[in-house]
Every structure is written in structure tokens, then in C-alpha cells.
């Protein structure tokens, strides 16, 4: 049976990541960074990826990784979600890494696992596992075309690009032009990738690699969404105990207490769904259903929690200075990333035999 709890080792890992983020990823500097030339915090990435060795959790030791599982990765993502950390962990250490695990490119895999290089799968962030995605033209060993909505492309050293011929190609970031798109989520910015005769190396078949990568991305995104929801609920409760109006703490008004209690119930439910998806990805049992259930549920919880944080903070929650908006933007973008809840419900209809008309 699925293990829905956290092991002692997982809790220890959480503590290490949280300590690092507390010291190096405070809200004020995350907000300041969003409008700088370097939206990604590469020094934080270096500490996480190389310092603690988190980039290689999904990669077997023989291939240069840590040989851990999706369960540990999920814990890391919860913490990164709690901090809306602007690092390419989900995109490089999960999605691109899963794609490489389905290919024949041990050199690249080892580089990503070590954290020395950042890899990004050049598929729009909005594509669901099993959904159709755009490919580019392959001609005489080089690629031609334009791909939009590529998350964290600005931080990438290498891009994994699907070709129209069915291949998946590795392309150095220096060989393409990456044009940032003004993105809703300031802490996971998108970019357009323009390939104008970029030289490319075929590393495997695109279809199975992309499918595997997006399924893992979708399943583990639920843990990031859990982190976003958990932080916004905790912070809102803390603030409402402190904030006084009408000579009382605002958190003592029953209308607000009930809303927060409902939200708490949603968050603990999401925890069970997210743990279930992480465990299913680790064991390979019932994985498609577990991922679809988690993604069909997670978005509404994370968005609800972030929207409540903005509303219940009153005016301060509407300011640029307060970090609530970073969580709202992340939660809303996450509700589209790797497929909407609706797309995952449609997938479930097939998986559990509840067909449409």
C-alpha cells in the first residue's frame, strides 16, 4: 500500500532545504530580483544543486546522481513552493532529467545531476502529459523554428528540443536565441526559443521522453502547489492573529475562522493527494491515476489559498511590497502548468472508465 507519510530522512531533508531557503531566499530579495536582469537566483541554485546535491536526486548513482526517488524530490518541491524560489529545479532536475532518463545521453544526464549545467525541455509549460506539443524542423543536422512558453529557458545551458522527425535533440543554449516573455509568474519566467539553424545532437525519441517527463512534472508539481498553499495559509493565519480591527484580532471573527478552517481542510487533503502521486511515481504502481487525481485537485487548492491570502490580508495583500502576489501568480500559473485540472479530469475519465457520452 502506498506510503502517504514522510520518513525521518525526508523530514531531515526538508529541514536542510528550509534552513537554506530561510537564509538565502527571503521575500524582499525575491521581489527585487523579479525586475532585475537576472530573474533566476543562480547562486541559490548552486547551493541547492551542487552544495546539497539536490539536482541529481532522480538519477541513479551509477549515472552520477544521488539515486533517491520522487518522494524526496517532492519534499524539496514543497519547500521551494513555500519560498516561491526562483530556481529551475522542477524544469531541470525533474522534467529535463526525466526526459534524459528516457534517452541515451549519459553525459548530459551526469551534468544535470551534478547541477553544473541547467537543462530545460523545450515544450510549452501548458502542455499536459499526453497532450500535443510543438516540434521544430530538422534539416542537415540543425534545427529551425520557434517555440514559445518555455519555462526557465533563460537560465538554461542546454535545451532538449522535439524535432518534427520524432527525435529529441540536445542544443546548447548558446546556439539559439532566448527571448524572455513577460510572464504572469514572476518567479518562473517563460521565454521564446528561436532556432535558426542551431546545431543539434539527437539523443533519443521525443514521444516517450516527453510523455515521461511531463507525467513526472505534473505529479510533482502537486507538491510545489502544496508548498504554495501551505505557506499562504500559515502566513494568513499568523497575520490574522496579529491584525486588530474593531478592538479584536481579525482572526477571531467567525466568518474568517470558517474560511480558514475550510482552507486547512483543503490543504491537508492536497497533502494526501500529493504524497500519493509522489509515491506512485516512485513505485510505478497506479501512477497515471495518482498523477491525474493530484493534478485535478491541486490547482484549485493552491489558487484558493493564494486568493484568500490576498483578500484576508486586506489592503496590504494588494501591494507589490507584500509577497502574497508572488504566490498568487505562481499558483495561477501552476494551474495551467503541465495541464489544467480539466485536462487531467478528462484523462481520468478514460483511466477509471467514466467515459463521456
Amino acid at each position: 500500500m502506498t506510503d502517504l507519510l514522510y520518513s525521518e530522512e525526508e523530514e531531515a531533508l526538508r529541514a536542510v532545504v528550509r534552513d537554506l531557503l530561510t537564509d538565502h531566499c527571503d521575500a524582499a530579495s525575491v521581489i527585487a530580483r523579479t525586475e532585475s536582469d537576472a530573474p533566476h537566483d543562480l547562486s541559490l541554485w548552486k547551493s541547492l544543486a551542487e552544495g546539497i546535491g539536490l539536482a541529481g536526486l532522480l538519477v541513479p548513482e551509477a549515472q552520477g546522481g544521488q539515486g533517491a526517488t520522487h518522494r524526496e524530490v517532492a519534499v524539496v518541491l514543497e519547500e521551494l513552493g513555500r519560498a516561491v524560489a526562483p530556481v529551475p529545479y522542477l524544469t531541470s532536475a525533474v522534467v529535463a532529467t526525466e526526459a534524459l532518463l528516457a534517452c541515451d545521453a549519459d553525459d548530459l544526464l551526469a551534468e544535470l545531476a551534478s547541477g553544473r549545467r541547467i537543462g530545460v525541455l523545450a515544450v510549452s509549460l501548458s502542455v499536459a502529459p499526453g497532450g500535443s506539443y510543438k516540434a521544430v524542423r530538422h534539416e542537415n543536422g540543425s534545427l529551425h523554428g520557434e517555440l514559445t512558453g518555455i519555462a526557465d529557458a533563460a537560465a538554461a545551458d542546454v535545451l532538449l528540443v522535439p524535432g518534427e522527425d520524432g527525435g529529441l535533440y540536445a542544443v546548447d543554449a548558446g546556439a539559439v536565441s532566448v527571448v524572455p516573455q513577460v510572464s504572469l509568474d514572476l518567479t518562473r519566467p517563460l521565454a521564446t526559443v528561436v532556432l535558426d539553424g542551431a546545431s543539434a545532437r539527437r539523443i533519443g525519441d521525443a514521444e516517450p521522453a516527453v510523455r515521461r517527463a511531463l507525467r513526472a512534472g505534473a505529479g510533482l508539481l502537486a507538491s510545489e502547489q502544496l508548498g504554495v498553499a501551505d505557506w499562504t495559509l500559515t502566513e494568513t493565519v499568523r497575520y490574522l492573529k496579529e491584525r486588530k480591527q474593531f478592538n479584536r484580532p481579525v482572526g477571531g471573527f467567525q466568518a474568517l475562522k470558517h474560511r480558514l478552517a475550510q482552507l486547512w481542510l483543503e490543504v491537508v487533503s492536497l497533502r494526501a493527494a500529493a504524497r500519493n502521486a509522489a509515491d506512485a511515481l516512485a513505485t510505478g504502481e497506479d501512477t497515471d491515476v495518482a498523477v491525474a487525481v493530484a493534478q485535478a485537485y491541486a490547482a484549485s487548492v493552491a489558487v484558493h489559498a493564494a486568493e484568500e491570502a490576498v483578500q484576508l490580508h486586506g489592503g496590504i495583500g494588494m501591494t507589490w511590497e507584500h509577497p502574497a502576489h508572488l504566490y498568487l501568480k505562481r499558483a495561477k500559473a501552476d494551474s495551467i502548468a503541465y495541464g489544467t485540472a480539466g485536462a487531467h479530469r478528462e484523462a481520468l475519465a478514460e483511466l477509471v472508465d467514466l467515459q463521456a457520452l
Binding site: A261, S269, L270, R271, A272, E346
Partner: protein, 409 residues
């Protein structure tokens, strides 16, 4: 692991194994002395009680052996394998789950000797006289009065939502013995004889057409002081034991996918394609996901309890299931279209158990309305979550330092 700890663990394991072996031996002894197939059912149960195998964690002489509660399963398995009768625990659930632990904790030696054996063997059914028309969520505001007269108490009042009252020999009762002190302080806990001529039981018909519960009218009911449980004025604290045990006995089961209310509607969807519409499909899928997530939350809570890390999630599970049961059964009625306009049977009946799957969607829809009321309303549970889990300020209290007689009603 250090050597010492290993040794301790080994010793503990060995002790548990030998305790289990001892219980098996005693069970076999009982079976040999009273072969189940040749023994009257009640006689067998009495013999089992006297052998200390009724509830092994109870003290010796009261149906137990002072053994760990977990070892009860060993005895049950041994006796069941031999085809021995059980005491039909669902029929006497209030006695076993609520009255017995309270009698054990607060009863006098005489009370324990008098009540526990007939309770456990099922000779005497118990019910619970707590809720009143004027005291639901605010149970401590109850107004049923008990007035001392010599060695007796004279009780007058009305109780409601009493299951099994029409079958019960005894009731656990809380009543007001001092109206001049704040409400929690003036309550006393009694054992009430349901055959007293002042006790009148009337079925309480529900919106489903049937009557699972009763109203109980108490008119000059005479209770000897020897049937008081705990001190005079300490009834609220005694009642906490009763209610805590009610909560312990709920939950802890592993449910398969589609095991709850989502099962029947999913089955109907698969078997009746002519009923499908786009709108119903979207709503069904959304509820299916929520039901599956609630199931996983329940499973996670169960795993936490097994691992000895009790979480707060239990408070939330009842909220989740109440809402889901209502929404799913509501959708199921709608899915059935013209059939949803019909109802299986409005005949007034007195079911012994609630059967959610044995009847039609309409029954499920109506009965599940009670899920957000019985055992704590959803609104009160939300307060409990907000205050005990999230640590938000408690509701302002205007009733704490006021004598009960001066409260608004």
C-alpha cells in the same frame, strides 16, 4: 540500534508473544468447557465474560484480564474460528462504546458488578439521554431537571435523537441538579431505568420517512442516588469520557477506491449511458476526484495513527465526508432524471442500522443531510478546527460566568 535496546525490544516482543499464547490457551479452555455448538448462546457469552475474555483490557472480574487492548483481536480470532457466537456489537454499540467505559471509570464497585456483565452479553441494551430540543450544539445548556428527594432524584424533562431508546433497558443520562451555578458546573450524570413508568419513548420520524431515533419524555422519573455516576455537579466531566470514547470508536478503517457514496453513482454512470450529459459528466468527474482525495486523506490519517503520530486531520474528515455524501447523492438523484422524481418507500419504519447502499439515491440524498448535523454540526467542527488546529481566537463567551437559570433561552 544499541545492544541494550535490541535486548529490550526482543524481551518486549517475547512478552507480547507469550501473552498472546496465554490468551489463546484461555480461549481454548473456554471452548472446551462450553462447546459453542452445544451451548446456549447467552450462556456461552456469560461464560466468556467470566473467563475474562470479553474485553481483555478491562480488569479481572469485570470481563477482562487487565491485558493490552490490542490483544483482544487474538481472542476474537480464536473464538470466531471455532464458530463461537459474538455479542452482536452493532446492536449494543452505545452500551459498549459509551456507557461501559464511563461506568468503568466513574462507577462504584457495585455499579460495575451490576451493569457491565448484562451490558456486554447483550441482555441489557443501553441508550444515551444527552441531547435536548433546547440543547444541541450547546449540550451543556441542557434543562432536564433532577431534584433530590431523600435517597432518590426526581427527573423531569425531554431528550431527543435517542437511538435504541425503544429497545433499551438502561440509559446514561445527564441532567441539571443545580440551576444556580454556571451551566457546566450544575450537571450530574445518572443511570436511568428505562422501564420506570415516567419514561415515555416516541419514535421521531425523519425526512426519509423512517424513524431511526426517538424522543424521550421524562415525567417524575425516580432514580436512586445509588445510580449516580461520579460526583454531584461533576456530570459534564463524566460526559467527556463518554463522548471521547464515542470519537475513539469512529474511524480507522481502510476504504477501497469507490468504496463510499461515489461507488453507486459511478456504477450507474457505467451501466446507463442513456442518462449521460456533458454537464453531469463534468460534475461527476469533479466529485470523483474529491471523493478519491478524501479517501486518501482518510488513509493518510490511518497511517499516522498506526505510526503513532496522531494528526489533527481527523477533525477534518467528518467535514469532508458530510459535504461529499450530500453533493454526490444530490447529483445521483439528478442523474436519474425521471426516476429521480420517484422515491422507493415512505413507509414509517424503525431500522436498526443506517444502510446507505441498500436503498435508492433519493434515500441517500435525504439521509446524508444528517451527516453535517449528527455528532457535531459542520459549523461547530469548523470552529473546532479554527481554534484547536489553527489557534485562532475562541468565540466570545457570554455564558461562562452566568448562572444557568439566567441564560437566554
Amino acid at each position: 540500534m544499541s545492544e541494550e535496546t535490541t535486548e529490550e525490544t526482543t524481551r518486549a516482543t517475547t512478552e507480547a508473544a507469550s501473552a498472546a499464547a496465554e490468551l489463546r490457551r484461555r480461549a481454548q479452555e473456554l471452548l472446551a468447557a462450553h462447546p459453542p455448538l452445544e451451548t446456549d448462546q447467552l450462556d456461552f457469552l456469560k461464560a466468556r465474560f467470566d473467563a475474562g475474555l470479553a474485553w481483555v483490557h478491562y480488569p479481572e472480574g469485570l470481563g477482562g484480564l487487565g491485558a493490552p487492548r490490542a490483544l483482544q483481536a487474538v481472542v476474537d480470532a480464536e473464538l470466531e474460528a471455532a464458530g463461537a457466537p459474538d455479542n452482536d456489537p452493532r446492536r449494543i454499540g452505545i452500551g459498549l462504546g459509551m456507557a461501559a467505559p464511563t461506568v468503568l471509570r466513574f462507577g462504584t464497585e457495585e455499579q460495575k458488578q451490576r451493569f457491565l456483565r448484562p451490558l456486554w452479553v447483550g441482555e441489557e441494551v443501553w441508550c444515551q439521554l444527552f441531547s435536548e430540543p433546547g440543547a444541541g450544539s450547546d449540550l451543556a445548556a441542557l434543562g432536564t431537571r433532577a431534584v433530590r428527594e431523600g435517597e432518590d432524584w426526581i427527573v423531569n424533562g425531554q431528550k431527543v435523537w435517542t437511538s435504541s431508546a425503544h429497545l433499551a433497558r438502561w440509559a446514561i443520562l445527564i441532567a441539571r441538579t443545580d440551576p444556580d451555578v454556571p451551566k457546566h458546573a450544575g450537571i450530574t450524570y445518572f443511570i436511568c431505568d428505562m422501564t420506570d413508568p415516567g419514561v415515555e419513548v416516541r419514535p421521531l420520524r425523519q425526512i426519509t420517512g423512517e424513524a431511526e431515533f426517538n424522543e424521550v419524555f421524562l415525567t417524575n422519573v425516580r432514580i436512586p442516588d445509588a445510580h449516580r455516576l461520579g460526583e454531584i455537579g461533576d456530570g459534564w466531566r463524566v460526559a467527556q469520557t463518554t463522548l471521547m470514547n464515542e470519537r475513539v470508536s469512529i474511524g480507522g478503517m481502510r476504504i477501497p477506491r469507490e468504496g463510499g457514496m461515489i461507488g453507486p453513482i459511478s456504477k450507474t454512470w457505467r451501466e446507463r449511458p442513456e442518462l449521460r450529459t456533458h454537464d453531469l459528466h463534468q460534475r461527476l468527474l469533479k466529485l470523483w476526484v474529491e471523493a478519491e482525495v478524501a479517501r486518501l486523506s482518510g488513509e493518510r490519517l490511518r497511517q499516522q495513527l498506526v505510526a503513532g503520530q496522531p494528526g489533527h486531520e481527523g477533525s477534518g474528515m467528518k467535514l469532508a465526508f458530510a459535504r461529499l455524501n450530500q453533493e454526490i447523492s444530490g447529483l445521483e438523484v439528478e442523474l436519474r432524471g425521471e426516476e429521480g422524481l420517484l422515491y422507493d418507500d415512505w413507509t414509517m419504519r424503525r431500522p436498526e442500522l443506517v444502510d446507505f447502499t441498500g436503498r435508492d439515491a433519493g434515500y441517500r440524498y435525504l439521509r446524508s443531510k444528517g451527516n453535517s448535523i449528527e455528532g457535531g454540526t459542520s459549523e461547530v467542527l469548523l470552529n473546532i478546527v479554527a481554534e484547536r488546529v489553527l489557534g485562532l481566537p475562541a468565540e466570545p463567551r457570554t455564558d461562562k460566568d452566568v448562572a444557568w437559570k439566567d441564560l437566554a433561552r
